[in-house]
Symmetry: C2
């Protein structure tokens, strides 16, 4: 039974949790910061994972699995890497009743354990490129956690590739960023800005981090995926060399890239509303629910009418639920399926049946339409396409609306000071501004407003001229600043 | 490059490792007892996993994900459970730079963390049955490990179901045993004996454990999957009660069941030979490899001939590799693809081309046949079916041949004493014998021969009469004894 969902305008954080818990996507674990992904949440993750996996394979990648336990000494081999991850490590000190000689960490990411192996696997340029991905759980001991968005353990994929040249490794880094961007927009209906991170926000151990950034309904940014050009940092740390085409011994070039279960959180905060979850049809465990309405004598005929329609819908390959459970009223079911996020609801009662009609209701807009039952399957399929497109466009329009070009420090402070306290009616958003490139400007803004440099959008770096909005020095980049998850 | 594979008749254990390492299925990890699953090994696991997942869903199960970290106190709630798993636990004592208040164990299995949650999710009979599976990594700190067969961390699936009645829970336990049995035989070509474990071999916390047992080529048994009837043990330990249809508050009944990456080891030790891996077509990353043979002028025509054939094979939905790499000789390629386990090889050279023929070679029997190129795709598909069936029947015949009915203690000792030192030419095997039911008889045999009671075959328990082969007391069961992995 759907419990009351807090309105977004009252408390956005509570609304988010209400959706996650009431739609039974996830639950708390007795271990602080860990999450139980319930069957409905996991079904969404499975659909997301399978599609992404398909796209990885289509771009030449294969899957493998590396151990979760990493010797502490491995992390220390790359100086920036250990500095970045040390505060978040969970450490295994005992195994089989004995204290271990060397503590083992639960992987926070797998560069170190993987590059230790690549040393054995790579001898010559013939062994390259090596294009491996893994689907795994990782652990980062976070102080403040939130279901899906930030949990001590989460599920993700991490690609780790090895190349002959810097150019090839960077091309791979960008290829995977584009896989993420197109996947986010086409499959998740999640519009994103693709860009480069500043040095202070890049991955610990990377030369350069690329990111896709999405805007949530409360106008905060969410980093939805990252792709790192690692240069030769890990090859040097783990002494991974190959014989080049010219017969020289050289260090290998690398990329790594990942997305995680936090994408489920991004989906919720992009599409859903005060009635509950809204899912893009691509991800919905069921695309259509049929709710029959009957009293007394009409029951057998209405049920048969509904079942015939369910069969017709399934024959088009659609995922259909026929909710004929009599222990709940139609009204209760409408609310329940809205809360669960099913894209299209079909209502049919005795009068609809007599007229040869059914009622179709879109979850995204709430629009109703009455169609002839024969026309319903084709129309439902059409509606699913319209819903998928509308979700993307609605979210994109929202982002555009809440992205402002900012020229001066005062404007910047005003833009972020106006932001409300975590409600969807808050102002703020993406501030697009020229930037001098200095970490001091970033740190100063963050201290005053909590806004950080989300990325330097890749398609907005041409013809930079003017001064840094934060310090007035000559600008080098155009950047997006925002508060974030 | 295929390195030399030790013959099975010389050293079966080394042969096994040679296959795993040379076919690039897995590799050692710097952390003792952990394993790296390489892309080829993982591709086999993926095919296996996807098919099993399909069968779970077809029987009404859904997937979820529970945390890997379990409070130590949870394990202690079920007395037998903690006693069974305590010696194998890996323990996290520090997180985020601080010592934890309570140590957390890495899941060795997830009954405890799952049943703690089921307490919240189950209130009424309407919430039952709850049919959840998870795919996850688990950790059991084993002293002696072997790639795939026994590793400190491994991948598996674990089903955890909750039911209204004892009868329903036991029916589920048996349903999943049958899913495992049919999956093993139909998909893995792995013949198995389905049976019940003795009390001394059952899962720690179960009322009764069912198993499927396979015989490896060295005549040892390998436990390939288990399904446990848990009674109300975990419901009582975690206080999981439901309101019954009669309005009473009762403890829930449970099952759990799992198979793991050790199945990949079972596959190797069932089907492979001294030339390398032999894979059932269902699991082979590529079902067919085409090796063109050409010199000088014939190259373009032979390559075109091969490519047309590859296209024709793919159009039948077959997984095909066209190995036109010129840096290796045809002979090298034949050996390499045999080592990798590809079920069918197609050889084609200039003379074959002129005659409109190709050569087909079966990996399982080595048989060659020459067929017209137009007939090749259909014949390859037919061969794949024959190979799949032959692998199952060959392994079944081997098991039957090496299963002996044993009537007395002396016969039993003789049967196991004859066993050679870990070679495929060893004697020994499955000893089928009447048994009184006492743990002392099991322990005595184990001490003398290392053979254990593998299971009491479910289809061989009717009309038991006679005396225990080990002690002469009246027999209660018919059991299979064997050395095992």
């Amino acid at each position: 039974m759907a419990e009351k969902i807090t309105s977004r305008s009252v408390d956005y954080s509570q609304w988010y949790l209400d959706i996650v818990l009431n739609a039974k996507l996830a639950d708390y674990s007795p271990v602080k910061g860990c999450m139980v992904i319930r069957p409905r949440g996991y079904a969404i993750w499975e659909r997301l994972r399978d599609e992404l996996d398909r796209r990885f394979k289509a771009t030449g990648h294969v899957n493998a699995y590396f151990p979760m336990l990493i010797p502490m000494s491995f992390l220390k081999k790359e100086a920036e890497h250990v500095e970045g991850f040390a505060p978040e490590l969970a450490v295994v000190t005992h195994g089989g009743g004995e204290e271990l000689d060397e503590p083992l960490v639960l992987r926070p990411t797998s560069e170190t354990i993987i590059w230790d192996k690549y040393r054995d696997w790579i001898q010559s340029w013939r062994d390259l490129p090596l294009l491996i991905n893994q689907w795994a759980n990782v652990v980062r001991w976070e102080k403040r956690t939130r279901l899906f968005l930030r949990t001590a353990e989460f599920l993700w994929q991490e690609g780790h590739t090895a190349h002959e040249t810097s150019k090839e490794a960077e091309e791979e880094t960008l290829r995977m960023l584009e896989v993420y961007r197109s996947f986010a927009e086409e499959f998740l209906a999640l519009p994103v800005v693709a860009g480069v991170k500043s040095d202070s926000e890049k991955f610990a151990g990377a030369v350069r981090t690329y990111t896709i950034e999405a805007m949530m309904q409360d106008r905060k940014a969410l980093q939805a995926g990252t792709s790192h050009f690692l240069g030769q940092n890990f090859a040097k740390a783990f002494d991974v060399k190959f014989q080049s085409r010219e017969g020289k011994l050289e260090h290998v070039w690398a990329s790594s890239w990942g997305v995680s279960t936090r994408l489920v959180g991004a989906l919720i905060m992009t599409h859903s509303d005060d009635k509950g979850l809204v899912l893009p049809p691509t991800l919905a465990p069921e695309e259509v629910v049929i709710v029959p309405i009957f009293k007394g004598d009409s029951k057998p005929a209405v049920l048969a009418y509904g079942e015939r329609l369910a069969t017709a819908l399934k024959s088009l390959g659609l995922r259909v639920v026929f909710d004929s459970d009599e222990s709940n009223s139609p009204g209760w079911k409408f609310a329940e399926w809205e809360m669960r996020g099913t894209p299209v609801r079909i209502e049919l009662g005795p009068r609809d049946m007599e007229a040869g009609k059914v009622v179709l209701v879109r979850r995204d807009t709430g629009e109703k339409e009455i169609v002839a039952v024969e026309a319903a399957p084709a129309r439902v399929r059409e509606l699913l396409g319209l819903i998928q497109a509308n979700l993307l466009e609605r979210a994109r329009a929202f982002r555009v609306e809440n992205t402002k070009s900012i020229g001066t420090r005062d404007e910047m402070l005003a833009f972020f000071s106006k932001e409300g306290a975590g409600t969807a009616d808050a102002t703020g958003g993406f501030a697009e501004a020229l930037w001098c490139g200095s970490a001091e400007c970033e740190a100063g803004l963050k201290a005053e407003t909590k806004a950080t440099l989300r990325c330097m959008p890749m398609d907005r770096q041409e013809g930079i001229s003017g001064t840094c909005a934060l310090c007035g020095a000559p600008a080098k980049h155009r950047a997006i600043f925002s508060r974030s998850y």
